[in-house]
Amino acid sequence: MSINPRLYPLLATIGIFLVGYLISYLQFPAMLSTRVIGNLLTDNAYLGIVAVGMTIVILSGGIDLSVGSVIAFSGVFIAVLLRDTSLHPLAVFALLLIITTVFGAAMGWLIHALAMPAFIVTLAGMFLARGVAYMMTIDSVAISHPFYSMLTSAYWLMPGKGRLTLIGVLMLISVLAGAIIAHRTRFGAAVFALGGGEQTARLMGVNVGRTTVLIYAFSGLMAGLSGIVFSIYTGSGYPLATVGTELTAIAAVVIGGTILTGGAGYVIGTLFGVLTMGLIQTYIVFDGTLSSWWTKIVIGLLLLIFILLQKGLLRLTAFGEART
């Protein structure tokens, strides 16, 4: 049986996660408890959701640096609105998701209409969103709405006292939705085509402008959703929160096996990328003597391995095509 070489990075990701989990388990048997599994999902929920949006962006050959700031903006927006108005949280959520989606769409439009690099446009978006967050408040604002208390305490107690939280489930649903959009829709096909090169995409009949706007709108939507989840997670809005999360999300996507230049990858891989990063963090806390900066070092090494793997894979497929 031969395996499609395109699946190699995904298999490598899943393999690394499982081996990592096994090593952790052998050293700390408590790692294989529903508590740890529940924690992995809950603690990485906001990252997983934003990484789904980032996966779509990277699959199209783009990048979105604004998402970390958009998450912080979302938290502050929710906290300040709930403090100063009598709006219901659900109405605030809807308003927020519209704002972040339009914000993403506007960046997508600029990227396409002005033929500007996504890097520069979303960098501007990053400063803009963070700046607006600071304009709204410089303090950490607590959210004390009864609806929020309900959301934070919404979980299903698994056997072994692990908690499958609402936000953890929301992350899994986002991954599933992202996978369907990327791999089963016309829009997803257009994203992959765009990742293969704008010229090729045009020849294939893809509406490049519309697709670009939709891609960044989707990323904005996911960043807004991630912001909602983060505000449920911390029960507050803080303009200094999630600094650098855009880079963590990009790292998760690459460790998840998506090729940074676009055109190849799987949304499900991103989930494993996120879980692998969470696993490293958990291992270091369980160990208790290692410096927490080891998390960054290991993630750096994993990134390097995956970039090398991608290069090797490109050679391999080029060789394979030459032979046939």
């Binding site: 924690n39 809950t42 806390v285 208790g288």
Partner: protein, 315 residues
């Protein structure tokens, strides 16, 4: 294969099954010398008492602290120490620790959660620190007339407000002591020196100043430099009292250039462990706030020795 894994797991379980208490400590980061010293002392205290300390540096991020606390709970530690990076957003995770019956002790900073979610909080009283400094000066000058200049901390910060208030409480009722000038030195050495220079010029070259009160040692050390450059003797011509008790101020005291400092102890873990031990022994619930001692050190308290004791703590 499965059997091997199980055997390995059982062995590991046996080896860690000893009765030593395991404490999880979620620290904010290592942004200042004081915090580094707090980390060092917590590790020392845990070692002395035979605890296993699980240390997690959150790199200034709340999400890292929340994740670390959840991992501590999953691990089933016996207690959790938390130095929270912000005051808000701890309800859910503290609730989880409470349901797992793991006592949480807050170190040095407070949270805005309901106080039944944690066992106790250990911290210093900033007003009290200022008061100790003021009382020392009041005793030192007796009934002589004394014109005091004050180097304040960062404008609007709670240490600056509280240490200013406490000092005024300390000298209350002493009509002979008067604060004549008060300006911010932003808690830094450089500004401490600059502002002191302007104080000296404004007060007849320093002849009219009897004492300096600085809200932290760093500003006092900057001011000492300014006083020396103005041709006066710090510690004699102008008495100097400040707060924090960092190693460098003890060097200045040993050289006779500073007179007194009030300690903001980085040993928050000591009182925390004491409270935990009582709690474990017979369920004694400590008060919700344990105030650390604001100890006064003067030139008579072996400043050289104090310097030696502190210089390796990571300040």
């Amino acid at each position: 294969m499965t059997r091997m894994l199980l055997a390995g797991a059982a062995l590991l379980a046996l080896s860690v099954g000893a009765s030593a208490q395991t404490i999880g400590f979620s620290q904010i980061g290592s942004e200042s010398g004081w915090r580094a010293a707090e980390t060092t002392l917590t590790k020392q205290q845990a070692e002395e008492r035979g605890y296993t300390l699980q240390f997690s540096d959150a790199q200034q991020r709340q999400e890292n602290q929340i994740a670390a606390i959840r991992s501590f709970v999953a691990q089933g530690v016996d207690a959790i120490l938390l130095a929270p990076v912000v005051a808000t957003g701890w309800d859910a995770v503290l609730q989880e620790a409470k349901e797992a019956e793991i006592p949480v002790v807050l170190l040095d900073r407070q949270v805005d959660s309901s106080d039944d979610l944690y066992l106790t909080a250990v911290g210093s009283d900033l007003v009290h620190e200022g008061k100790v400094a003021g009382e020392w000066l009041a005793k030192e000058v007796g009934d002589n007339k004394c014109r005091v200049v004050e180097l304040q901390g960062t404008t609007g910060s709670s240490p600056a407000i509280d240490r200013a208030k406490g000092f005024r409480d300390g000298i209350a009722g002493k009509a002979n002591i008067e604060i004549v000038r008060s300006q911010t030195g932003d808690f830094t050495r450089a500004l401490g020196k600059t502002v002191m220079e302007s104080f000296l010029q404004a007060e007849g070259g320093g002849k009219d100043i009897c004492a300096l009160y600085a809200h932290n040692d760093d500003m006092a050390i900057g001011a000492i430099q300014a006083i020396k450059e103005a041709g006066l003797k710090p510690g004699q011509d102008i008495k100097i009292v400040s707060i924090d008790a960092v190693p460098d101020i003890f060097q200045a005291m040993a050289a006779g250039e500073a007179n007194a400092t009030v300690e903001l102890t980085p040993n928050m873990a000591g009182p925390a462990f004491d409270a935990l031990e009582k709690f474990w022994k017979d369920g004694t619930v400590p008060p919700k706030f344990i105030q650390t001692e604001s100890k006064l050190y003067t030139q008579a308290d072996d400043p050289q020795g104090e310097y030696e004791r502190r210089k390796d703590l990571g300040y």
